[in-house]
């Protein structure tokens, strides 16, 4: 039986942040991230280049829950607060393709990916490119283009279903600011995210794309 951590790692590996690259056969002994500046991450450490503390968003946990750590990621392009027990599983600082992935002990993964869209692009163009990427990756958007907002950014939410390499569901959010567009991706093997709603809403409410 898989542990939640192992399960979440499989989910991280199964999510492809909308990339249209053709699938490549890999074993568990192959790193799945690619790119010149992809950095191996020491689990549990905080690599400042990938994630810097942002203390104004720090806050104590409630009802025995973990503390919330304010952090700045994607070269200062995104700030948010995350549960302290999340672990970084992958990251890159490649300009235009920066990302950071976390794994929660609650058996889901959370990733933020820089998109190459221009912040001046119309929503319909941004959404169409993203949907093309999802389809090209063999996934299916079963819920699409639902308007949402963080405390400071407008976004569109999707529910995406993947069959390979393991069946998974993800909730994905395209968020935009005046300077960048990012994809936030939450992957789980649950049929829906209802178990995670409270935690995710807390994360999204305080997430700021700069």
């Amino acid at each position: 039986m898989r542990t939640p951590g192992a399960l979440a790692w499989v989910l991280v590996a199964s999510a492809c942040h909308g990339a249209a690259d053709p699938p490549v056969r890999q074993t568990v002994f192959d790193p799945t991230a690619s790119g010149a500046n992809v950095a191996p991450v020491e689990v549990g450490s905080t690599a400042l280049a990938l994630e810097a503390p942002f203390p104004p968003l720090d806050r104590p946990g409630t009802r025995g829950g973990p503390e919330w750590l304010g952090v700045s990621v994607l070269r200062g392009g995104v700030r948010f607060a995350r549960p302290s027990h999340w672990m970084i599983r992958g990251a890159s600082v490649d300009p235009g393709h920066a990302f950071i992935q976390y794994v929660s002990p609650n058996a889901y993964s959370f990733g933020i990916y820089e998109r190459s869209d221009s912040p001046a692009d119309l929503w319909r163009d941004v959404l169409q490119r993203y949907e093309n990427d999802v389809a090209a990756a063999g996934a299916k958007a079963i819920g699409r283009r639902v308007p949402m907002a963080t405390g400071t950014n407008q976004g569109r939410a999707y529910t995406v279903e993947r069959k390979t390499p393991v069946p998974s569901h993800s909730r994905e959010y395209l968020l935009r600011s005046d300077h960048r567009i990012v994809l936030v991706q939450v992957v789980t093997q649950d049929d829906n995210l209802s178990r995670l709603n409270a935690e995710l809403l807390e994360v999204l409410t305080h997430l700021e794309v700069l």
Binding site: L122, V146, A157, A198, L201
Partner: protein
């Protein structure tokens, strides 16, 4: 699936000739929002924390119908009249809910569509406000979408805040060429 969305959008659009939303003159919409970036565009607004103070804003994962919405209005002590609209069997249920608001002469018509799930409710509302254009607005919660009568952005915000509809469902409003969610009220991840 596409046909269903078109049908729901058309149903929500039905009755477009109804009067525009006008809130009582004394209501100042600024008292309900924080404006970021020194702008009053819909995408720079956020509801003030006190607007939904005391309301349960936790995401609702239950399956709802028009009664859930009517109960919420009645809890706010509004007089409500419900008309079930005739729709094709393949289309989702549609109800008109007429709400009597103190200071507004005619009951305000709200179109309530009951959809299969939250994604479809959010998307149907999005498409409806985009089709109607600037000033149109609505809220959605779980599988229910509610489309209000179009008004100015100021009147839309004032209405959704005073009636607490923004605390019941995700408040979505149409801008010039897109739709925006005004955060600070009810939301679903």
């Amino acid at each position: 699936m596409r046909d269903r969305f078109v049908a729901v959008t058309l149903l929500l659009l039905a009755g477009c000739a109804s009067r525009p939303l006008r809130v009582p003159a004394g209501l100042n919409w600024h008292q309900y929002v924080i404006e970021r970036d020194d702008g009053a565009d819909a995408d720079s607004l956020r509801l003030r924390p006190d607007v939904c103070d005391g309301y349960d804003l936790r995401p609702d994962v239950s399956t709802l119908n028009e009664s859930s919405f009517v109960r919420f209005l009645q809890q706010q002590r509004y007089e409500v009249q419900v008309q079930r609209q005739q729709v094709d069997a393949k289309n989702p249920e549609l109800h008109y809910v007429f709400v009597s608001i103190p200071g507004i002469s005619d009951a305000v018509p709200l179109r309530v569509a009951v959809l299969p799930n939250a994604d479809e409710a959010g998307r149907a509302l999005h498409e409806a406000v985009l089709q109607r254009g600037p000033g149109s607005w609505g809220v959605h919660r779980s599988n229910v979408a509610v489309l209000g009568p179009a008004g100015s952005n100021a009147d839309d915000v004032a209405f959704a805040a005073t009636t607490k509809l923004a605390c019941w469902g995700t408040f979505t409003i149409a801008g010039t060429d897109d739709a925006f969610v005004i955060p600070g009220g009810y939301a679903e991840p």
